[in-house]
């Protein structure tokens, strides 16, 4: 295997957890063996594997944030986004690949939250890899039944007149939430607006940051 440049920092600059000095486990042994067998059998190459790691590293919530910020400033783009999330993302140069993206909008009377109760389906091509909590038993179990209690654990409180709309990602669609644009942000640039859009606000377990806070 040629020298793999992933040993210290990912291309996106995130440090990998140092596992070079941890005892080799059965499953790590399997990963090495499977990878080498697939290379030996010409299913893939070390370069292709490295490139795929880079590609996944390049996917992060910043992509989703840029799409949301555009939706905030451009109402016609927002309508296109709500109609076809994949096509609208592509307009901005973000190719979400084979993923079918549905964008849903938070309003004064509706708060959206996304879960996959059956496994951990997540719009990874838009937001990067999912957080550990999204894959947890507690989140998968409780979000469809007591979303408001779950939201309060994330620090989000909703009014009684706000409806919670829970999306269970059970099949081929993936979901991104367009959070409410914070007040008093009229003067901000699109890039500044994007910096207010957190990953959790695009899953529905958070709201966009208030720039005055």
């Amino acid at each position: 295997m040629p020298h793999d440049h992933h040993d210290h920092l990912s291309p996106a600059g995130h440090p990998y957890r140092a596992d070079d000095d941890t005892p080799l486990s059965y499953w790590q042994t399997m990963e090495i063996a499977v990878r080498e067998l697939l290379v030996e059998k010409n299913v893939t190459t070390p370069e292709e594997i490295s490139a795929q790691i880079d590609k996944m590293d390049a996917r992060s919530p910043a992509i989703g944030s840029a799409v949301v910020a555009r939706a905030w400033v451009d109402p016609e783009f927002k309508q296109r986004l709500l109609k076809d999330g994949s096509a609208a993302s592509l307009e901005m140069g973000f190719d979400v690949g084979p993923m079918h993206l549905i964008a849903v909008e938070n309003t004064e009377d509706t708060h959206n939250i996304v879960v996959c109760t059956l496994c951990s389906c997540y719009p990874r091509n838009l937001l990067g890899l999912p957080p550990d909590w999204y894959k947890s038993r507690a989140y998968r179990s409780r979000t469809v039944k007591e979303p408001r209690k779950v939201l309060s654990e994330f620090g989000v409180t909703l009014g009684e007149n706000v409806a919670v709309r829970v999306h269970d990602s059970t099949a081929d669609m993936r979901y991104v939430v367009v959070p409410v644009r914070p007040q008093n942000t009229e003067g901000l640039s699109e890039a500044e607006l994007a910096s207010l859009v957190t990953r959790d606000s695009m899953i529905g377990t958070g709201v966009a940051r208030d720039p005055s806070a």
Binding site: L118, K145, A163, R165, V166, D168, D172
Partner: protein
């Protein structure tokens, strides 16, 4: 794919439907908490290959995929946090029956 007039297609957007209350073993994508429950078609999506066949490496036929909306009270009764709340899930056609043709479970 496409919407048809509500009177012609029991599974058009807006139609009231019930999820079949079957409990097979194996890889199915209709979660247990919606089975036997009543909902409305939020939208007709498109045909997709049946995951119940793909999961076993079998040739897969396409099934229309729908988003079905359930009220929190329909699913959880008195345990629903707020009667305004609702839950939407994607369900394949073979798990859905028209409301009129179902028997109560």
């Amino acid at each position: 794919m496409g919407k048809q007039a509500l009177g012609n297609d029991p599974f058009a957007a807006g139609a009231t439907v019930r999820i079949r209350h079957l409990m097979p073993p194996g890889h199915v994508r209709a979660p247990a908490y919606i089975r036997g429950k009543r909902g409305t078609v939020e939208r007709v999506i498109a045909p997709f290959k049946n995951p119940e066949q793909l999961a076993y490496g079998l040739p897969a036929t396409e099934q229309m995929l729908y988003r079905i909306r359930f009220s929190a009270t329909e699913l959880w009764g008195d345990l629903a946090e707020n009667p305004r709340d609702f839950i939407e899930a994607e369900v394949y056609a073979h798990w859905i029956e028209p409301q009129d043709h179902s028997h109560a479970t």
